[in-house]
Symmetry: C2
Subunit: 386 residues, 2 copies
């Protein structure tokens, strides 16, 4: 009883409302969801909505806003009007969605805001709501598997002379890294896209689950994966993007820091770079300007070239001599979703031109979105350092 009395006094001091208290502490039964619907895995831990139907791949969204005149949902490029019930709760049901991760916003009287019910995912340069649409066995490769060992994603800050301030990066090390303290590892630099940040591959991409699975299955060699920020922030007293070239930071500040801090293999045969969307473009800019440092690269939905461009001329003529290119690059992996603009034409032209070390991968039925990129990583990583 003393324990309970003390506990209750704690609660009173906390001035937690009774509803929060009951829901958050005593495991009160939440109200039942419609048949077939479950809370999205991207929800905060007490939020029942958004609720997802795995069969129809639809989601129900819910916003408590008794005094708003108009509430809407903006999901995957489509706006949905929400309807209000007598308690001031607005709801709507989405169209069927592609499996995987999607950003969304709630519009309250036309102001786009984050839904309070989800975890935060940095995209389009703000902390946005996100929803994961589940699928069947295919998705197993990017979900947590309790039966295999897990690597670590390490959060680090390093000083960048070019940036003039500290920068944050995340570094994945494989599960075995701690057990083999004399072993050195190859390194993949993995870049995010426009408006996202160095946490995107972990949070939206589930990269650690993908790498853990590939390495455990013997499909990919154990490697270190470095995820840095593709934007250059100015110092904290001025908020704008710097016009510096991020390539210079990768090569001159980040790479030496990584090779000093981790047990890395420090030669071009053991360095890869890949990126999605704008990060794919940054990858081409960085790798083609530093062929002495990288022998493997991937660009996922990375705007590889425009139609009708002469492939012998793009990227300052890096493909002019196919044999020379193949000698330098062990792998040029180009990936796309079938529902976005694809670089197929350029890939075919490069192959016709004689480039051999090129692999083209299409993610069926997906657009410029995270399922495309999870699949791309799952195809790319096994081809490295072999």
């Amino acid at each position: 009883m003393k324990k309970i009395a003390l506990f209750l006094s704690v609660m009173m001091i906390c001035s937690i409302t009774s509803a929060q208290f009951a829901g958050g502490m005593f495991g009160q039964q939440p109200e039942p969801l419609p048949d077939g619907y479950k809370p999205a895995s991207t929800n905060t831990f007490l939020a029942q909505y958004p609720a997802v139907n795995a069969q129809t791949r639809q989601a129900i969204f819910r916003v408590v806003a008794p005094h708003a005149d108009n509430v809407a949902l903006d999901l995957a490029g489509k706006k949905y009007s929400m309807t209000k019930d007598e308690k001031g709760i607005w709801t709507c049901t989405s169209d069927p969605q592609v499996v995987g991760f999607h950003y969304y916003a709630i519009l309250i009287d036309s102001v786009p805001v984050m839904d309070r019910n989800t975890e935060a995912f940095f995209g389009s340069n703000w902390e946005s709501s996100g929803i994961e649409i589940p699928e069947g066995p295919e998705g197993d490769y990017y979900r947590f598997n309790k039966n295999i060992p897990h690597g670590q994603v390490r959060s680090l800050y390093y000083w960048s002379e070019i940036n003039g301030m500290e920068r944050h990066c995340n570094v994945y090390v494989p599960a075995e890294y701690e057990m083999n303290t004399d072993k050195t590892y190859p390194v993949m630099y993995l870049l995010h896209g426009w408006g996202e940040d160095e946490n995107g591959w972990s949070n939206q991409g589930h990269m650690a689950n993908i790498m853990d699975g590939l390495i455990h299955a013997g499909k990919a060699v154990p490697m270190i994966v470095v995820m840095d920020c593709g934007d250059i922030k100015t110092n904290s007293d001025v908020r704008k993007a710097s016009t510096n070239d991020v390539t210079q930071i990768y090569i001159n500040d980040l790479m030496p820091f990584i090779e000093k801090t981790f047990r890395t293999k420090n030669d071009r045969q053991n360095r890869a770079m890949a990126g999605l969307s704008r990060g794919g473009f940054q990858t081409t800019m960085t790798v083609f300007a530093n062929l002495d440092k990288f022998a493997w690269m991937g660009t996922f939905s990375g705007f590889f070239s425009r139609p009708n461009q002469d492939v012998t001329e793009i990227f300052n003529g890096v493909f002019k001599d196919p044999a020379a290119f193949d000698k330098q690059m062990n792998l040029l992996f180009i990936s796309t979703g079938t529902e976005e603009r694809t670089p197929k034409e350029a890939v075919e032209a490069l192959k016709a031109h004689g480039i051999k070390n090129i692999v083209y991968h299409e993610s069926q039925g997906t657009a410029h979105e995270w399922l495309t990129w999870r699949r791309a990583l799952n195809e790319f990583a096994p081809r490295l350092f072999k």
Copy 2:
């Protein structure tokens, strides 16, 4: 020129609006802030507002909401009406704030939402906006210091049998950890408060900067710091808090995982636990029930006891025999802000009762807030494992 043409085609494909493009890519000059104001360090990297005046410790908030009828700010327990200009931009200026971190919400037609301009900080069980109010030299201990080596905060998932699912924790290792691959380290378990999560000590608390500084200065011994979640989530198909006792998870699932994964010293003399607010309460529940496993503890704003309680009876009589208690516990560190309800009376009663290994710390001028807890950690960690 080819590079630029390609780059521009990338941008068109991205369908980024010209304003985002200019602001985000080419470092367009942002509009000047009022004299004395700078963007808060908690802002997303392109957001000028909220802007903070370091002298007056006031902040200006800004929300673009042309169609809203009413926009307000909820900061540190006070609501501020915001006023709208002819462009539909709402602003207000706060009262002077205590230095350090504060949560806040924007109310759009009475709906509390996150401000799009800040990073997300999990508090009160949602991803909330936050603002850091800067101060002078005192705050140096929790800011990034480019002149010293830095530890790593590692993100890990472990399987909890009690929870029946994977759980996420963060583990700080000191800068030297990688360099001394035969050395073992003592461990501090550091708990967050109600409504926050295992990221709170890193994001809101700047614990890595604090520990880096203390260890580099020789004030604290190099140690591992484990930050787990104080809530027990149910499986992802049901969203409610489990009624299981989190103490059992700490002892039976988390601690064995940590001791298997890191080079830890595995005896009570080398284990500490501390927590803030509800985490302080969880600390007392866990440590007093497991005195064979811990010899050091701290409770920061942790609701240590109620007024007029008999200290010989609280916590199942753990203090009944002062000599026995002192023999078991090397340190009972009790900390509070002077502007919150303090446990001073209980501390004095414990001292009068004969407990010697007790240290009482007050954070001057702060309430139930993060500056209290940053200061507490900065005072607590140097006293451990010596």
